[in-house]
């Protein structure tokens, strides 16, 4: 396909027209200039009024604002540490959330303890909000397990690597909540890439038909590895909801306050029996897809620089400082806490032992399986045969 034909097929209403490497970014509309985008804090840290969503953050205290800031800073620090640990060979892979802190902390802090979260593999900030110890997230990236936490202790499901699958699990769980007559809600995370998966479309259908209390939280970070959002959709993603019969909203994904407000609204809809909502958090993956990826092959640095100016942490800091909600002492203390977290994560990962060899055969079945027992015994005999050899010499 030629460049011309691609351009001709570009959706006119999409705010997400983006460049590919080597092309200019002049065509890209600023998300803050987009009337479709819910924004409460500008990139400059200025609070803007919003008639619909202000009420969801109206009572927020300076302490809570500092809390959101702290969450984002610590999440970013943890993420940076994990990237370093991969570079040092301590982790096999890491999927960085850099740039998506506001989308994750804003939405994560909107959830209630009894709500249930279905993440992809990049929701480290949401995990943080749910109280999952960050070191637990690293086992699968180190290769010592495929998911090291009990989903039910924090109502935070295991990471899902095959993208989109979890939206159906979230929908089923939400159907269960409705059957139980509870007023909890479910939030399902996915990305712009996963939006193309049939499972996501099916989860929209099922949740709409059964009016399930679920919020679909799509972090549109503009890139599905090397493919821009234009390769996934001709309409802005939030508009997909309309065809399924429930509302969709695009929120500034780099604005933690807006993400908090919009997610609270969506969760309240779910709780009060109004069914599913699609939230598209418009954000940017500042780093590579994973530590194995090389974004210089498919995107230009000028795009990244444009998004850097909209940094989620920087804008809240500007707001906190301008409104005198935080002083130097707070920032200094947080920096120390941040370093301590990095150190704790580093030490915990290095101390993570390799699993016992027999872990291969553990938990394959809940009620056991004759073949697994047989193969475990064969493996044990094989291993024991080396002990004999060693003993014999």
């Amino acid at each position: 396909m030629t460049v011309e034909s691609t351009a001709a097929r570009k959706p006119r209403r999409s705010a997400g027209t983006k460049s590919t490497a080597g092309k200019t970014t002049t065509a890209r509309k600023s998300p803050s200039a987009d009337p479709e985008l819910v924004q409460l804090l500008t990139p400059e840290g200025k609070r803007v009024k919003n008639a619909e969503y202000d009420k969801y953050v109206a009572g927020i205290t300076p302490e809570e604002l500092r809390g959101l800031y702290r969450d984002m800073v610590l999440t970013r620090r943890f993420d940076a540490e994990a990237t370093s640990l991969q570079r040092q060979g301590e982790l096999g892979l890491w999927a960085s959330l850099l740039g998506q802190e506001a989308a994750q902390i804003g939405s994560g802090r909107a959830t209630r303890e009894d709500d249930y979260v279905f993440p992809t593999y990049r929701e480290h900030g949401v995990a943080w909000c749910r109280g999952v110890d960050p070191t637990n997230l690293l086992g699968m990236f180190r290769g010592v397990n495929n998911g090291g936490w009990d989903p039910n202790s924090n109502n935070f499901q295991l990471y899902t690597i095959v993208i989109g699958s979890q939206t159906l699990h979230a929908t089923g769980y939400a159907m269960g909540i409705a059957k139980d007559g509870a007023d909890s809600a479910v939030i399902a995370y996915f990305g712009d890439g996963a939006s193309s998966q049939g499972d996501v479309a099916e989860s929209f259908t099922f949740s709409a038909v059964y009016n399930a209390p679920v919020v679909f939280f799509c972090q549109n970070n503009q890139w599905a590895i090397s493919e821009p959002t234009e390769k996934q959709t001709r309409v802005p993603l939030y508009q997909r909801a309309q065809g399924f019969g429930f509302p969709g909203v695009r929120v500034d994904g780099n604005d933690v306050l807006a993400c908090l407000a919009v997610t609270k609204w969506a969760l309240e809809r779910a709780r009060s029996g109004e069914g599913p909502t699609l939230v598209e958090a418009y954000t940017y993956r500042m780093g590579a897809h994973t530590t194995s990826d090389d974004p210089t092959r498919y995107r230009g640095d000028e795009e990244r620089q444009a998004w850097e100016a909209k940094d989620p942490i920087l804008r809240l800091r500007r707001y906190l400082e301008a409104s005198n909600h935080a002083d130097e002492g707070f920032f200094a203390e947080l920096e120390a806490e941040s370093e301590a977290l990095g150190k704790r994560v580093r030490e915990a990962v290095r101390a993570m032992p390799d699993p016992d060899h027999f872990a291969i055969f553990e938990n394959v079945y809940a009620d056991g399986h004759a073949l697994v027992d047989e193969e475990r015994a064969q493996f044990a005999a094989y291993q024991a045969s080396f002990a004999d050899v060693e003993g014999g010499h």
Partner: protein, 330 residues
């Protein structure tokens, strides 16, 4: 409360229906889900009357999307429910294959045992009913290859009743293959009998000369083969395997050590089929007992043919007898 009736004669489809009714009645967490399972009672009427008696919240007509059915069943199981989902026909399961293989089978291990997914996936399978394409397949090997799943297939009404009870009680996901051409075969069902283990094979006919091993729709055929062989003075043993994963190799071994010959019969293609696995393992276990190589009778390495050709494609009396002759000729 469902009335318990001892020794009731019923068709295999009705036995499953009664079993589902009993499960719905005794455990409020049991749900039935699938396309047309509610008002219609399923295209084979296996769920007939259940929605009327247990309501739309427990017997759920779903959108026409198999991945969605299994995916939401996983979510419901995470919430504490025990969903029994119906895939309308064997050839329709593949949209759900990803959810079954990638999620349903692996979540228990992924969670280090914290998560249990007691989901039963019912699949009417196999040919012999003159159906159109995608309505006559036997895909059990495609699931047996996946650790984390259990695969069973009853051959008669009594097993259908009890194996369904046990599948629903299992904390592991179970793929329940229902032999659709046997749906209307009647049998005695004792609704009070305490059943043996779900994954144990049963000798349904004792013999000395050769073992015929089968499951689901092929058990009845093997019994007919044994009758025909008896007329020629050959005494065949028939083993109803009942479970494809795990396979009860101990029972097959015990039988083969006695008869020294084994023929495995299934509708599924022979190539990479369950018969191949049985042949390999029994050769290992019974090498010095075997008087003949383990032979297999099944479908060919070709798409399931149009209905007018299915009798040639499916194992029939003569093809199985031919294999018996070849095994006995060694």
């Amino acid at each position: 409360m469902a009335e318990t009736v001892t020794f009731k004669s019923m068709a295999l489809a009705k036995a499953i229906n009664e079993s589902l009714r009993r499960a719905l009645d005794s455990d409020p967490k049991v749900l039935i889900m699938g396309e047309d399972v509610g008002k219609l009672g399923g295209v084979f009427r296996v769920t007939d009357g259940l929605q009327k008696d247990f309501g739309e919240s427990r017997v759920i007509d779903t959108p026409l999307a198999e991945s969605g059915i299994v995916g939401t069943a996983i979510g419901l199981a995470l919430r504490g429910y025990r969903p029994v989902v119906e895939i309308q026909f064997d050839g329709f399961v593949f949209p759900a294959y990803d959810q079954i293989v990638t999620q349903l089978a692996k979540m228990h291990a992924r969670s280090l045992g914290k998560v249990k997914l007691p989901v039963v996936v019912r699949i009417p399978y196999g040919g012999g009913i003159g159906a159109v394409e995608h309505h006559s397949e036997s895909p059990e090997a495609l699931f047996a290859h996946v650790a984390g799943l259990k695969i069973v297939s009853p051959s008669n009404a009594s097993d259908a009743y009890w194996m369904m009870q046990q599948a629903i009680q299992s904390d592991d996901p179970v793929i329940f293959f229902e032999p659709k051409r046997r749906y209307w075969d009647k049998g005695e069902v004792n609704t009070e009998a305490i059943p043996g283990p779900l994954h144990k094979a049963k000798v349904v006919r004792e013999g000395t000369d050769l073992t015929l091993a089968a499951y689901g729709p092929m058990v009845k055929l093997c019994q007919e083969v044994a009758d025909a062989a008896a007329e020629e003075g050959r005494n065949l043993e028939v083993l109803d395997l009942r479970s494809v994963s795990p396979l009860d190799f101990d029972s097959i071994q015990a039988s083969v050590e006695k008869t020294r010959r084994l023929v495995v019969v299934h509708e599924a293609p022979v190539f990479f089929g369950s018969g191949a696995e049985i042949a390999a393992r029994i050769t290992e276990r019974c090498f010095y007992h075997l008087e003949a190589p383990v032979l297999r009778v099944g479908g060919y390495h070709a798409p399931y043919p149009p209905a007018r050709l299915e009798e040639e494609y499916l194992p029939g009396l003569d093809r199985v007898l031919d294999a018996v002759d070849r095994a006995l000729a060694y």
